[in-house]
Amino acid sequence: MKLSELDLGLMSEVANTPRGKGILLCIQCGRCTSSCPVARITKEHNPRRLMEMIILGFRSEVIPHQLPWYCLSCFTCLDRCPQGGDVGEVMFAIRNLAVKEGNVPAGVLAQAKSLMETGRVINPIRSALDKRESLGLGEIALGGLDEVQSILKKTKLDKVISPKETVKRK
C-alpha cells in the first residue's frame, strides 16, 4: 500500500455518521479487543486494529472487508471502553458505510429484502402457520405493511442495499 492510497478523510467520514463519533475518542488501548468474544476465537478480528486502520485512513482494508461483519454487537467493548469510545457503535457506522459500497453479506441482504417485502426479517413457514392456527394463536399478518413500505421508500432502503457502484469484497 502506498501513502497516496490512504484516505485521510475516512476518520471524519465515520465520525460524521450517527453512530460513528466514538472513533474520535479512541486511544488504541486495546481493551475492546481483550473484551471481544470473536477476537478470542480468531486472530483475524481485532477491533482495536480496525479502529486504527480507520484513524490512519486504510479505507480499502476496512470498507470492502468482511471484518466489520465479524462483530456480534454484544456491546461488551462499548461498556468497557475507558474513553466512552463506543467501539460497538462505531462498528455499526462502518457497516452502514460498507453497505453503501456494496459490502453486505448475503444473509443480511436477504433480511433487508424480506423487511421491504413483508415488514419482517423472519417469516413463518407454512407448518408454523398451521400450528399457530391449531393452537388458536392470533394471526401474525402485518396490517401496517403499506406504512412500513412507505417509510422504507422515504429512507431509500432499496437504493442503500443496491448501490450503483460497488467495491470488490475482501
Binding site: I41, A110, V121, V148, I151, T155
Partner: protein, 292 residues
C-alpha cells in the same frame, strides 16, 4: 397491569412454545397482554447494520403504536429489546433526532412522543409483578435442578440504556431461585451466544456457541435457561451443529425461562412443546408433561 405485547419475528415463526407459555403464565400472574397487531419488525442487528435511518424510523413506528395504545411495550427477545429501548432512549433525549424521525413518520400519520417505556419479560416479572407474587404462585418447585443461565447480551448491555450494570443477571438468578432451581455460575456467563452471526458467518457463530457450551459443561449444569429466542436457537439447535462440525456432544437441554416458571407454577408442558426442543429435556420435565 397491562402491556402492549411485542412478539417479534422469530418467536411466532419458530418458537411457539415460548409464545404459548408467555400467553398462559403472564395472565395467571395478573398481567394483561394486548397484541400490537400492526407492529413491524423491531429492526434488529442486521437492519441496523444496513441503514441507520430505516432502523430508527421502523423502531419508532412500533413505539408510536404502543403510545397510541397508551401502554408500555413488553418484549420477549433481547434483540427486539435492544432495538426498541435504544431508539426510545435516544429519541426521548435528543430533540433534533426526534424531529428528523418524526419527519419520516409524518407521511404515515405517526408521531413519536416518548410516552411509553420498553420492558423485557424479565423486567416485567422482576419489577412489575414482583418476587413476592411470583414466589406465591410457585406450587411445584424444582428440587435438585442445577442450571446455567444465558442472560444474553442486550438484557443488560449497553449499560447506558439500563439503570444498573448486570442488573438483568441478578433479576434472572433470583427468578430462577424462586422456581426452586439452582443457578450455577460459569466462566463464560457474560459471553454472547454468537447468534447475530448466524447466516452471516456460520462458522464463527458455531465457535462462539461452542465456547459457551464448554464452559457450561465444565460447570456441571443439567440444563441451560435462556430469555432470548436467538440465544435459545443458538444453544439448542446450535448444539446439533456443533456436534456435526466438531464431533462433540454436550447434551444440555435448553429451556426458555418462562417454561421453567410455567412448570414450577404447576402447569404442564404439552407433548408438542417438549418435542420442539432439539436437545431432549429428559429428567427436567419428568412428571411435568400433559397426558394425552
Amino acid at each position: 397491569m397491562k402491556y402492549a405485547f411485542f412478539v417479534g419475528c422469530l418467536i411466532p415463526a419458530r418458537e411457539l412454545s415460548y409464545e404459548v407459555s408467555v400467553r398462559k403464565v403472564l395472565p395467571a400472574l395478573g398481567i394483561e397482554l394486548v397484541d400490537m397487531k400492526d407492529a413491524n419488525c423491531c429492526a434488529p442487528f442486521s437492519i441496523q447494520s444496513v441503514d441507520h435511518a430505516s432502523w430508527m424510523a421502523l423502531a419508532a413506528r412500533n413505539l408510536c403504536i404502543a403510545e397510541e395504545m397508551g401502554l408500555d411495550v413488553l418484549t420477549l427477545c433481547n434483540d427486539c429489546y435492544e432495538s426498541l429501548l435504544m431508539v426510545n432512549t435516544l429519541l426521548k433525549n435528543n430533540k433534533a433526532l426526534k424531529n428528523k424521525v418524526n419527519e419520516i413518520l409524518a407521511d404515515v400519520g405517526k408521531e413519536f412522543k416518548g410516552k411509553s417505556d420498553v420492558k423485557h419479560l424479565i423486567d416485567v416479572l422482576y419489577d412489575d409483578v414482583g418476587m413476592k407474587t411470583i414466589k406465591n404462585a410457585i406450587t411445584e418447585p424444582f428440587t435438585e435442578l442445577k442450571v446455567g443461565t444465558q442472560p444474553g447480551c442486550h438484557l443488560t448491555k449497553p449499560k447506558r440504556i439500563h439503570f444498573e450494570v448486570l442488573r438483568g443477571f441478578r433479576a434472572l438468578d433470583e427468578l430462577i431461585a424462586a422456581t426452586g432451581a439452582e443457578t450455577i455460575p460459569y466462566e463464560r456467563k457474560e459471553m454472547c451466544c454468537g447468534g447475530p452471526l448466524r447466516d452471516i458467518n456460520d462458522e464463527l457463530a458455531r465457535q462462539v456457541a461452542r465456547e459457551k457450551l464448554i464452559s457450561l459443561k465444565n460447570a456441571e449444569v443439567q440444563g441451560i435457561v435462556t430469555v432470548c429466542p436467538f440465544c435459545y436457537l443458538q444453544l439448542d439447535t446450535g448444539q446439533l451443529e456443533v456436534k456435526r462440525h466438531f464431533n462433540e456432544e454436550y447434551n444440555l437441554p435448553v429451556l426458555h425461562f418462562i417454561e421453567l416458571l410455567k412448570m414450577a407454577m404447576g402447569m404442564k408442558l404439552e407433548d408438542w412443546e417438549v418435542k420442539s426442543h432439539r436437545i431432549p429435556l429428559g429428567d427436567i420435565v419428568k412428571g411435568r408433561i400433559q397426558e394425552e
